[in-house]
C-alpha cells in the first residue's frame, strides 16, 4: 500500500483510535491468586477447588437483595480470604453485609465488581447501576474516590494498553516497513550518490527524504493526492527543497511526462504493496512509470517480491475470526444471518493476523515478481504450489497468503526465491528485505485469508502428507483495484485422494 493517504495526521488518529477495543479483563479468584477470563469459570473454580459456591451463596441471601449487597459480598469474601480464613469457614449473612464498609473494593481495579449483573437473583430484570454504586460509595465510605481506583480496571487496561500499543504500533508498523526501506537506502548510499530518483506515490515524502539524505542529486516525488502539499512543507522544513521536487498528479499523464523531462531516472522507489500484495493495483502505475522514465540499467526499489501460501488448520480460530461464536447468541436473539457477510466468509478474502499456531503446513513460494522485468499482464497468473502438511493437520480450513519484499540491487539479485526468509529476524534482514508472514512481526498488511467452503473443510486429509495446488490471481474486468483469487488443491485423504477449489474476491 502506498502511504499516500495513510500517513497523514488523521490516519495516525485513526490508528490510535482503533486500538482499544478488545476486552481483556481478568477476574482473580476470590480465594487464591489464579486469574480467569470469565466470571463463570472463576466461580466454577471456587466451587471445585475451594468448596465455595458463590452463586448459591448469592441465592441464599434472598430474592430481594440489591446489587450493592452482591458487590459488598465480593469485597467481604476477598477481605476474609486475605485474613487466611478458610472459604468454608466464612460466615455470610445479610447483617454482616449491611455494613457499608464493604462497599470499598478490597482489590484495586477489581473487574469482578462490574460483571455481577448476571448473577443477580433476577438478572434479567435488574441492571447494575454503577452510578448508584459510585454515589453510595462516595456517600457512605467517603474519602478520595480517586484513590479507590473505582473505575473499572477494564478502562484502565484500555487506556494503558492503548498507550502502549499506540507507540508500539507506530513503531512496529513503521519499523518493518519504513525501516526496511531506510536500512536499504542507508546501507547502499553509494547507489544513490549523485543519482536521479523518482518516488512514485510519495505520501508525506519520507522515502524521498531518505534518498536525498543518502546523497541523491535530484528526487522527483510524485503523488496524486493533496498530501503532496504536506510533503512539500516537510521537505522545505528539512532543507531539501533544492534536491526534492514534489509534483502532484498522475504518474502516467502527459503533463507529468513534461515535468519529469526527457532525462530518464536512475532509480524508482515506491511503497506500492497492498493486501495480498496486489490488491489496490498500484503496481500498475509503478510499472508504467518504469517503462516511461527508468533508464535501461536503472534500479527498482524494492527489486523483488515473492508470494507465499500456507494452509490454515484451526477450527477454533476460524470460528472466532468469522464471528460465528458471537452471532449465535446476541442478547438472546439468533443473529447468525450476519455470518455470511461477516469479516471472514467464503466470498471475500479476509485480512487477519493469523496466529502461527494456526498454520497447518509449510509455507510455499508460488510466485516471484522481478520488478525490473515483470509486465502488467503478468499480474494475472496461475502458479503451482506444494506444501507438506503438519503431522496433526486432519483437515484444511483456509489458506493464508502473504508476501516478502526484497531490496536486491544490481547483479546480486536474480532469484529472490533462493533467499531463506525463515532465517531473518522478526523485523526482516536489515537492508535486504522484510516479510509480512505469520512468523514475523506483524505489519499493517497482515495476511490475506481465503476461507474454504463448508464441504471442503469437512474433507479429511492425512497428516504429514503433501498437498499440491495452484493459485490464480485475476483482476475482474470491471474493477481495476479488486482481485479474484482462486485456490485449487488436492491431497491424500483417509480414503484416497481429496481435492477442493475456492474462488474469493478482494473488492473495493
Amino acid at each position: 500500500m502506498s502511504d499516500t493517504e495513510s500517513d497523514t495526521a488523521s490516519s495516525v488518529g485513526e490508528i490510535l483510535e482503533d486500538i482499544s477495543e478488545a476486552d481483556t479483563s481478568t477476574f482473580k479468584c476470590l480465594f487464591c491468586d489464579e486469574q480467569w477470563s470469565r466470571v463463570q469459570d472463576m466461580f466454577a473454580h471456587c466451587t471445585k477447588e475451594h468448596g465455595f459456591d458463590v452463586e448459591n451463596t448469592i441465592k441464599k441471601l434472598g430474592q430481594d437483595i440489591d446489587e450493592l449487597t452482591v458487590i459488598k459480598l465480593i469485597n467481604y469474601l476477598r477481605l476474609e480470604a486475605q485474613k487466611s480464613i478458610a472459604p468454608a469457614e466464612i460466615k455470610v449473612d445479610t447483617e454482616t453485609l449491611a455494613d457499608d464498609k464493604y462497599l470499598q473494593p478490597t482489590l484495586t481495579d477489581d473487574a469482578l465488581l462490574f460483571e455481577l449483573g448476571d448473577f443477580m437473583p433476577d438478572a434479567d430484570s435488574k441492571a447494575i447501576d454503577y452510578d448508584e454504586y459510585e454515589a453510595a460509595l462516595q456517600k457512605n465510605v467517603g474519602g478520595n474516590v480517586e484513590k479507590l481506583s473505582l473505575d473499572n480496571d477494564r478502562d484502565t487496561d484500555y487506556f494503558e494498553s492503548y498507550k502502549g500499543n499506540a507507540i508500539h504500533r507506530e513503531m512496529i508498523e513503521d519499523r518493518v516497513r519504513t525501516e526496511g526501506y531506510r536500512d536499504f537506502i542507508e546501507k547502499n548510499a553509494e547507489l544513490f550518490k549523485g543519482k536521479t530518483v523518482l518516488d512514485v506515490g510519495c505520501g508525506t515524502g519520507i522515502l524521498s527524504l531518505f534518498c536525498a539524505r543518502a546523497g541523491a542529486k535530484r528526487v522527483l516525488a510524485v503523488d496524486n493526492s493533496d498530501i503532496a502539499n504536506r510533503a512539500r512543507d516537510n521537505i522545505a522544513r528539512n532543507g531539501y527543497s533544492d534536491k526534492i521536487e514534489v509534483i502532484q498528479g498522475r504518474i502516467e499523464d502527459f503533463h507529468m511526462q513534461r515535468k519529469i523531462g526527457k532525462e530518464k531516472v536512475d532509480i524508482i522507489i515506491s511503497e506500492w504493496m497492498g493486501y495480498g500484495l496486489l490488491f489496490e493495483g498500484m503496481l500498475d502505475s509503478v510499472l508504467r512509470a518504469r517503462d516511461l522514465y527508468l533508464k535501461e540499467d536503472g534500479l527498482m526499489v524494492p527489486s523483488h517480491c515473492t508470494m507465499r501460501i500456507a494452509p490454515i488448520s484451526d477450527r477454533e480460530w476460524i470460528s472466532d475470526a468469522s464471528g460465528e461464536k458471537f452471532w449465535k447468541d446476541v442478547y438472546g436473539f439468533d443473529f447468525t444471518s450476519m455470518i455470511p457477510g461477516g469479516i471472514l466468509n467464503q466470498r471475500e478474502i479476509g485480512v487477519f493476523d493469523v496466529p502461527s499456531k494456526s498454520i497447518g503446513g509449510e509455507a510455499s513460494t508460488f510466485y516471484q515478481l522481478d520488478l525490473k522485468h515483470i509486465q502488467i499482464r503478468d499480474l494475472d497468473f496461475t502458479a503451482p504450489f506444494s506444501t507438506k502438511l503438519g503431522s496433526s493437520s486432519a483437515s484444511i480450513d483456509a489458506f493464508a497468503i502473504w508476501f516478502d519484499t526484497f531490496f536486491l540491487p544490481g547483479e546480486k539479485s536474480q532469484d529472490a526465491t533462493a533467499i531463506d526468509v525463515a532465517k531473518w529476524g522478526d523485523h526482516g534482514e536489515a537492508g535486504l528485505g522484510f516479510s509480512t508472514g505469520p512468523y514475523s512481526t506483524y505489519t499493517h498488511w497482515h495476511q490475506a485469508v481465503l476461507l474454504l467452503g463448508d464441504e471442503d473443510r469437512k474433507k479429511e486429509v492425512k497428516g504429514s502428507s503433501t498437498l499440491k495446488g495452484k493459485v490464480t490471481y485475476k483482476k475482474p474486468r470491471k474493477d481495476d483495484r479488486g482481485i479474484d483469487v482462486t485456490v485449487e488443491w488436492e491431497a491424500e485423504g483417509a480414503q484416497g485422494p481429496v481435492s477442493g477449489s475456492s474462488k474469493l474476491t478482494m473488492g473495493a
Binding site: V12, R38, Y162, N165, T204
Partner: protein
C-alpha cells in the same frame, strides 16, 4: 492487560496481539455493528429501558429510527409492542430482515430502507420512538436531526421517546505524556522535522478512553437536550462552562462526554460515557490546548464551548473552545482558544 496465562481459558481474543483482536472488531461494516452490540453499557441500557417498561410498550406502535440490525425493534416486540417499524438508510436492513425472520418476528416488525423523509410508514402516527442516534461527542455524525424529524411528523401527542435526554459534560485533564506522543511525534519523524503536520494534529479531537486518575477538575455539564422539545437549531450552540480545579496539577486538554437518560421509564435508566464509569464505544473526546495550564486546587477555568455543523459539509463539526484560567498568580494566568474539526 490480561496476564497471558489466562488466554487459553476463555476469552478467545485474550491471547492475541491487541491489534489483531481489534482487527476482528472493526474490519468492515459488520464489525461496526458487532462493536455496537458488544458495547454492553449501550445495549443493556436500551434493553433494560424497554424490558422493564412493558406497561408502556404493551400494544403500542413503535418507530425505531436508524434500526441497524434491529436489536432494539426486537426488544420492543418482546416487551409487548403491537407493531414496530424499523427504518435505516443502510443496506444492513437486508440483514436485519433475515435476523427478524429467523427470530420469528416478521409479522410484528416492518423494516424499511430509505431516508426518514422519504419512506412511507404503514401507520400515520406512532406511540413511541426508540433510537440509538448518538455519535462521538454526542453530535458527530449523529442521527438526532432525523429523530427530531420523525418526532415532529409521526409521534402522537404525549408519545414517548427512548431515550429522551442527553447531556454534554466537560472536564480538564493532565495528559502530558500522551500529548507529547501524539502531537510531539511530528517534531521528529525518522530524523526529519514534520511539524507541518502538527497543526493539523492539534485541530483533530481525539476519540479515546481517558483514565479517571488524569481528570483534574470536576465535571461540568454544558448542555442538556430534551428530545421532546429541542429543535435542529439547538444543535448549533455557544455556551459558557466553568471547571473547578480539584488538585494542583497541569492541564493539557479538555475532554467531553455525554450522559443519556430514559426518563419515561418507571425507574429512570441512565448511562454515562464519562471517564468515571464503564467503557463504551463512544469513549471520550479529547481536545488538546495550545498552552499547558498550571493550576491550583480551587481555581476555575472558564470559557465557552461552541459547536456548529461545518459549512462545507454539514456532517462535519466545527468546534471552538475558549478558555481562561482565573488565578491571582499573574505568572500562571493564561487564556486562549482552540479550533477543532471533527471530520
Amino acid at each position: 492487560m490480561a496476564s497471558s496465562h489466562t488466554g487459553a481459558k476463555g476469552d478467545p481474543l485474550a491471547g492475541m496481539a491487541h491489534s489483531e483482536a481489534h482487527y476482528f472488531n472493526s474490519y468492515n461494516h459488520h464489525g461496526i455493528h458487532e462493536e455496537m452490540l458488544k458495547d454492553e453499557v449501550r445495549t443493556r441500557s436500551y434493553r433494560d429501558a424497554i424490558y422493564q417498561n412493558g406497561h408502556l410498550f404493551k400494544d403500542k406502535v413503535v418507530l425505531d429510527v436508524g434500526c441497524g440490525t434491529a436489536i432494539l425493534s426486537m426488544f420492543a416486540v418482546r416487551a409487548g409492542a403491537k407493531h414496530v417499524i424499523g427504518v435505516d438508510m443502510s443496506t444492513i436492513i437486508d440483514k436485519a430482515k433475515e435476523i427478524v425472520e429467523r427470530n420469528g418476528m416478521s409479522d410484528k416488525i416492518t423494516l424499511l430502507q430509505g431516508k426518514m423523509e422519504e419512506v412511507v410508514l404503514p401507520f400515520d402516527k406512532v406511540d413511541i420512538i426508540i433510537s440509538e442516534w448518538m455519535g462521538y461527542f454526542l453530535l458527530y455524525e449523529s442521527m438526532l436531526d432525523t429523530v427530531l424529524y420523525a418526532r415532529d411528523k409521526y409521534l402522537v401527542k404525549d408519545g414517548l421517546i427512548f431515550p429522551d435526554k442527553a447531556t454534554i459534560f466537560m472536564a480538564g485533564i493532565e495528559d502530558g505524556e500522551y500529548k507529547d506522543e501524539k502531537i510531539g511525534f511530528w517534531d521528529n519523524v525518522w530524523g526529519f522535522d514534520y511539524t507541518p503536520l502538527k497543526a493539523t494534529a492539534m485541530t483533530e479531537p481525539l476519540v479515546d478512553t481517558v483514565d479517571m486518575k488524569y481528570v483534574v477538575t470536576d465535571p461540568a455539564s454544558v448542555l442538556t437536550l430534551d428530545l421532546y422539545k429541542c429543535t435542529v437549531d439547538d444543535l448549533s450552540f455557544r455556551l459558557p462552562y466553568e471547571l473547578n480545579v480539584r488538585r494542583p496539577d497541569f492541564i493539557h486538554a479538555i475532554i467531553a462526554w455525554f450522559d443519556i437518560e430514559f426518563s419515561a421509564c418507571h425507574k429512570p435508566i441512565k448511562f454515562s460515557t464519562g471517564p468515571h464509569t464503564k467503557y463504551t464505544h463512544w469513549k471520550q473526546t479529547v481536545f488538546y490546548l495550545q498552552d499547558v495550564l498550571t493550576v491550583e486546587e480551587g481555581e476555575k477555568i472558564v470559557g465557552e464551548l461552541e459547536n456548529r455543523p461545518s459549512e462545507k459539509n454539514h456532517r462535519d463539526l466545527d468546534i471552538t473552545i475558549t478558555y481562561k484560567l482565573n488565578t491571582e498568580d499573574m505568572h500562571r494566568q493564561s487564556a486562549g482558544q482552540g479550533m477543532y474539526k471533527m471530520c
